[in-house]
């Protein structure tokens, strides 16, 4: 499986309140949540994002609340992968559980710039910046998590068990 798209770049500690503000949490459908994704720190994001685009950020991405609405909003906005130095732990679980691919890779997170075209190969963990030609290797998932991802999320994984 591969993801390929242009990069939206953010800094440290992108929290779930900015990914999807709580004032919209009375909605539960991904498509509706996606309309407001990132609006508190980047009003242009939702107008510019194209299906398949990639989000890159520095440390502690997704810190804050446990709202699964956050990875869901990103996924439904069209984001195909999030690359970060580190992820907050609940966001990490939620992304895997709903099938939003994420990769920890401090080198890629630092080097990749907004607007770059990036390709991610999930099988090998290789991240390629097509704009600069640089390539990086992300942290591979433990086998158990890979099984959840391959199944398409936790619910499918349990159904198959």
């Amino acid at each position: 499986m591969k993801a390929k798209g242009h990069v939206f770049k953010y800094g440290d500690n992108v929290d779930t309140d900015v990914i999807i503000p709580a004032r919209y949490l009375n909605a539960t459908q991904g498509e509706e949540l996606a309309k407001h994704c990132m609006e508190d720190i980047d009003k242009e994001f939702i107008h510019k994002v194209q299906k398949g685009d990639i989000m890159v950020a520095n440390k502690n991405f997704g810190c804050g609340s446990s709202r699964e609405h956050a990875p869901l909003a990103l996924k439904c906005a069209g984001i195909s992968c999030v690359i970060a130095e580190t992820f907050a732990r609940i966001f990490f679980r939620n992304a895997i559980n709903i099938g939003l691919p994420i990769i920890e890779c401090p080198e890629a997170a630092k080097a990749i710039q907004a607007g770059d075209e990036v390709e991610v190969d999930f099988d090998s963990g290789v991240i390629t910046d097509k704009t600069t030609g640089a390539s990086f290797t992300g942290q591979p998932f433990p086998e158990f998590m890979q099984k959840i991802i391959t199944a398409g999320g936790l619910v499918n994984y349990i159904n198959e068990a």
Binding site: N13, D15, D17, V18, P21, A22, R23, L25, N26, A27, T28, D40, I41, K59, N60, C63, G64, S65, S66, R67, E68, H69, P71, L72, T86, A88, R89, I90, R93, N94, N97, I98, P142, F144, G153, L154, V155, I158, N159
Partner: protein, 419 residues
């Protein structure tokens, strides 16, 4: 190799003699929690599962607390979804208007969590119950859905940081100041994926409410859980609130910690987190002149009896400054009632504060105290992210109930010692 307190609970609940940091395990759960925001998503996910029966109707808690009494039609639909689910599956611990409280104050009060339990909740502040010597951590809605059916959850066994607390806190220094100090010291990702284990002689000088507050904000340092050893005070609390058997686990003497910090509680000062991260802490003497528009006293972090009493002690016989809105929110019905019996509500109202029914409302910018552009709020809640309580151009300063109350009186961020 020895195990930490958290590792011991996880080993026991996974049926293993030994676990090590980094190991993936599946643990049996004693309680699965959700609220009116996260449960509807979980219920929706559960409908996709082959098996749609709950594993144990007594071990699921659904607490309607974020947007209730319902603030709008969508919130009402969400609660209705939870109510119908609870009815259909005969969920014993479903808490709606009249019985509800803020989940992390309510569950210990109702005796639903005791020492040795493994608990997950679809709410990040589920880590609160570590104060009782339980392992508890926040997860998302899909994890909650899976756990409602299987009664189990997978965990990566965490490594740990030890915080050795010594000494006795000075007047006006509370559990909130302890945890804000720690977050300021290690940062908002300082305990990422790890346990925060609190030890030391100083623990005896912390009330149960202090300990709930400290564990509650472990997540604000990125922690998987926070946990206190079980002492006589914790045992007394559990005996008063629960009929359940509990199991006390202690860390091995040779347990491995990635780091140990010694914190002398007697040296701490009231502490304030500046916008827009909980790690931006300053002691009260370093705050400077910061006028405020609103003070919020409540939440799963600071809406308990100690907090109500501290705020009342400051507000008694005083008035909230002109131009400041002061909102007090007892976290549960029992706390509300007790505050009424002790005359605290009268003190709040006479001071010019408003008293609300239990709700998470303003903490996450839901309702009951939303901020306009350019407004500043001192709040006893747990997050001061951009836009958390309203307009992205508003500011939140986190502090203890005593500091929030003193700030409400003086109209600027202030120490109660100034009054």
């Amino acid at each position: 190799m020895g195990m930490t307190m958290t590792q011991k609970i996880l080993a026991a609940r996974a049926g293993l003699p030994q676990v090590v940091a980094g190991q993936l395990i599946e643990a049996e759960l004693d309680l699965v929690l959700g609220n009116d925001i996260t449960s509807p998503v979980a219920i929706h996910e559960m409908k996709k599962m082959n098996n749609q029966e709950v594993f144990n109707k007594d071990k699921i808690a659904l607490v309607m607390d974020h947007f209730i009494p319902n603030k709008d039609i969508k919130s009402a639909e969400n609660c209705k979804c939870c109510r119908e689910f609870a009815c259909k599956h005969e969920i014993t611990n479903y808490f709606d208007v009249g019985e509800m409280g803020i989940e992390h104050a309510l569950l210990p009060e109702k005796g639903l969590v005791v020492a040795g339990d493994a608990v997950i909740g679809a709410d990040s502040h589920t880590c609160t119950y570590g104060a009782l010597g339980a392992f508890s951590t926040g997860v998302g809605s899909t994890d909650m859905a899976a756990a409602m059916v299987t009664g189990k959850a997978w965990f990566k066994v965490p490594s740990a940081i030890r915080f050795e607390l010594v000494g006795k806190p000075a007047k006006w220094v509370s559990g909130k100041d302890v945890i804000l100090h720690i977050i300021g010291m290690i940062g908002v990702d300082g305990a990422l994926y790890k346990s925060m284990e609190f030890t030391g002689d100083g623990i005896k000088n912390l009330t149960m409410d202090d300990r709930f507050t400290i564990c509650n904000m472990a997540i604000e340092a990125g922690g998987k859980n926070g946990i206190f050893p079980v002492d006589d005070l914790a045992i007394q609390y559990m005996k008063e609130h629960s009929k359940r058997e509990f199991t006390i686990y202690e860390a091995d003497e040779d347990a491995e910690y990635e780091e140990t910090y010694v914190i002398d509680l007697s040296q701490l000062k009231p502490t304030v987190s500046f916008p827009h991260l909980p790690e931006n802490t300053r002691t009260i003497d370093q705050v400077g002149e910061i006028p405020i528009d609103q003070a919020v006293i409540g939440s799963c972090t600071n809406g308990r009896m100690d907090d109500m009493r501290a705020a009342a002690q400051v507000l008694k016989g005083r008035k909230v400054a002109k131009g400041v809105r002061c909102i007090v929110i007892p976290a549960t019905q029992a706390i509300y009632l007790q505050a009424m019996r002790e005359g605290l509500l009268e003190i709040f109202i006479e001071a010019g504060a408003v008293v609300s029914t239990p709700t998470c409302g303003p903490c996450l910018g839901g309702y009951m105290g939303i901020l306009a552009e350019g407004e500043r709020c001192i709040s006893t809640t747990n997050r001061n992210f951009v836009g958390r309580m309203g307009h992205t151009g508003s500011e939140i300063y986190l502090a203890s109930p005593a500091v929030a109350a003193a700030s409400a009186v003086l109209g600027r961020i202030a120490c109660p010692c100034e009054l």
